[in-house]
Subunit: 420 residues, 2 copies
């Protein structure tokens, strides 16, 4: 050991979760899990380590992305390994691996941590957690309706109302047909328009039309396309209609919605925060016709979304909805001095057997300080333990919020504490 | 995309958790978390990525271990990063980082995934999950008693009884004193005996004595040491006495217990399976006087243990105690044909609002097949949805286990299902 001390900072771009932050994280994960399970989704997981080939397989452009934006290294067996940057390839791999045994449609959710090698930027994290929900093997539009209803229900289960967020829906396939109706069939032109649409709400209207004109080389056509894109008439979009049938009203068609990923082929959707301070995309997803293509076999269609922990937390903070699953014990037993510590442990054991969570303060602090420490730790009840109490087998429990006290045997106190 | 298909196998040495395995994993984690919280332990987490210096700092021997047995790589910012092989250094880093704000004793638990770069060996995993429980800043022996009582309680909470496992206890400090009484004060000799003891139950008694004689170069002394080591008299071991006071009877002193880690300084302990088919160490831990030494500042004492998911699962399987937190929905709604799928979603929404978990089968299967699929998925109730039911607003729910049926409006069915 040298005199130079190690830093207590975590690795750059990742977070330590001390109890307060962990309680928030657990709250997010619990609401996510409960909501997904209420829709019949089963939980899955995998390792953060994946063969790099899983991400590189989609072509040269992807290979560059993998090399530059992911944690990829070579292990001592000369295998290229990547810390997963997204969950969809893993889930597709798992679906493909058991396609014979699985009973479709399959509904899966997971809460993986994902890694991106970001260039050093203020506040950009290299690791985050993400709720992923997917249905595989169902092509019916009601699968899309269900998945988006699940996303909607997550917000309600966190205490949000429909004024706080909106659901934007588009369809890659319908857009392709709409372009065809306007005489645009060339693949490269459709892709160029889609990429421009992806930036539409970040640029001026005039810039948009100018760039569009440049792409289609026809000003009149550009105006027609703009009118089509900007129309909020849902047309015969069954997903929008279906969601309205379920009583979901904060949903609208947005034909400029593009979503980045190339693999989407049908419905795409996004949930946006309506708060002026946090006007951003909260979650997004869509349908892909054959996500298991890399693994061979008959195509399996899927629709899914991802929802990040940081984004979720920002939304809840913005709307003042953030709470936490605090794991503080209900009762703290405070021995008057260290000779009573073992008696404290014995007493704690009795309360625990009744289902109460109990800590004993075995520090060298004076009792008054022990009480204030318990209060700071948000512990509800304290029991000061002296030898008189032990001799009499009668104890006093104090509620630190109300100041109320109750006395009695362990059995009497248990029945009062478990009743309250 | 090429014609060559990707493998659906995970990376070597890691596991995919399909729903059945994930349900078991969740069951393990939930019992771990609930037990730790009932003792007043707060949950913490950190990233799997840690600066490599955290593991290399303890000297050249450690540096070799880090290079050979861990996943360590250099990121593009020239930082050396390690996938954590154990949680204790991380927790020590976090304790040291907030030593001013924390109110000691601190009780923390975590359920991290840990990585080891194992040479290719049948069944050896490169990633596993581990429950870690620690108390920091309490030197009183009742902290040791509490932590071991917590380990004991975990077994009981999984349904085990005391005949299925035993707790072995030793103390590094006491052993040092015992060697001193026998005239052995040389540090290297003590270390050599300790290392020999670590192998004691794997070698013959004669081999043990022969090797011991070689170390101390005195046959009579070797016999004396052996007698001391093999005595099961707890002497004045307060921890053993304290555990007995708490009614824990499957505990004994084992002076041959060494535990691998160098940093232990006081109590060390291990829980062993008593089943002849699984006679192995299940969890282990101990006390260290100054675990935050690497980060400077006043010494902080800690006592902790780690308990792996694979070991836990093996124990439960051996004793026929394994169960799982199945997340199957309670009710499956089975539309007669796809035109009724949206009605199915609407109906599902009503049941979910009452707290029931519901899936709708939107596959193209015939109803009979939908019912058997629900049964295979361990779903308790099914509701077959035809247009007659919708017109009449009256539905029939069937219990797939008992065959019992109940009919009525959604409200009537909800009140029956939530009552059962």
């Amino acid at each position: 050991m040298t005199d130079k001390h190690l830093s207590t900072q975590p690795y750059k771009g990742v977070r330590d979760f001390y109890p307060d932050d962990m309680a928030i994280q657990q709250y997010l994960f619990d609401v996510w899990a409960q909501t997904a399970e209420s829709f019949g989704y089963e939980r899955v997981e995998a390792s953060v380590l994946e063969p790099a080939a899983l991400y590189k397989a989609k072509g040269a452009e992807n290979e560059e992305m993998v090399n530059e934006q992911t944690y990829t290294f070579t292990d001592r067996g000369k295998r290229e390994v990547t810390l997963r940057p997204e969950m969809t390839p893993t889930v597709a791999r798992m679906i493909a691996g058991r396609r014979q045994e699985l009973s479709f449609p399959v509904r899966w959710y997971s809460i993986p941590n994902l890694f991106r090698y970001e260039r050093a930027q203020r506040g950009r994290l290299r690791e985050h957690w993400q709720l992923n929900c997917d249905i595989f093997g169902a092509t019916d539009f009601t699968a899309d309706v269900e998945l988006i209803a699940l996303a909607h229900q997550i917000f309600l289960n966190f205490g949000a109302d429909e004024s706080m967020f909106e659901i934007l829906i588009n369809n890659r396939h319908t857009m392709r047909q709409a372009y065809e109706l306007l005489g645009i069939t060339d693949e490269a032109t459709v892709t160029a328009i889609t990429r421009l649409n992806d930036r539409k709400d970040k640029i001026e209207a005039a810039t948009y039309e100018a760039e569009l004109t440049k792409i289609v080389q026809d000003q009149k056509l550009a105006t027609e396309i703009t009118a089509m894109i900007e129309s909020d008439d849902p047309g015969d979009n069954q997903v929008v209609a279906g969601l309205k049938e379920l009583g979901i009203t904060n949903v609208r068609i947005d034909r400029s919605l593009a979503r980045g990923f190339d693999y989407y082929t049908g419905t795409i959707f996004e949930v946006k925060d309506t708060h002026p301070d946090n006007r951003r995309s909260l979650l997004g997803g869509g349908r892909y016709d054959n996500l298991t293509a890399l693994f061979g076999g008959e195509p399996i269609s899927g629709i899914g979304f991802g929802f990040g922990d940081v984004t979720m937390r920002d939304f809840l903070e913005t709307h003042n909805l953030l709470t936490a699953n605090i794991t503080s014990p209900v009762l703290a037993i405070l021995p008057m001095d260290r000779t009573l510590n073992l008696e404290g442990q014995k007493l704690a054991q009795n309360f625990r057997a009744a289902g109460l969570s109990v800590a004993t303060d075995i520090s060298e602090r004076k009792v008054g300080k022990k009480i204030s420490t318990a209060a700071e730790a948000l512990i509800e009840y304290v029991l000061v333990l002296g030898s008189d109490e032990i001799t009499a087998s009668s104890y006093t429990v104090k509620n630190l919020t109300t100041g109320e006290e109750m006395s009695g045997t362990v059995e009497e106190l248990i029945s009062q504490l478990t009743a309250s």
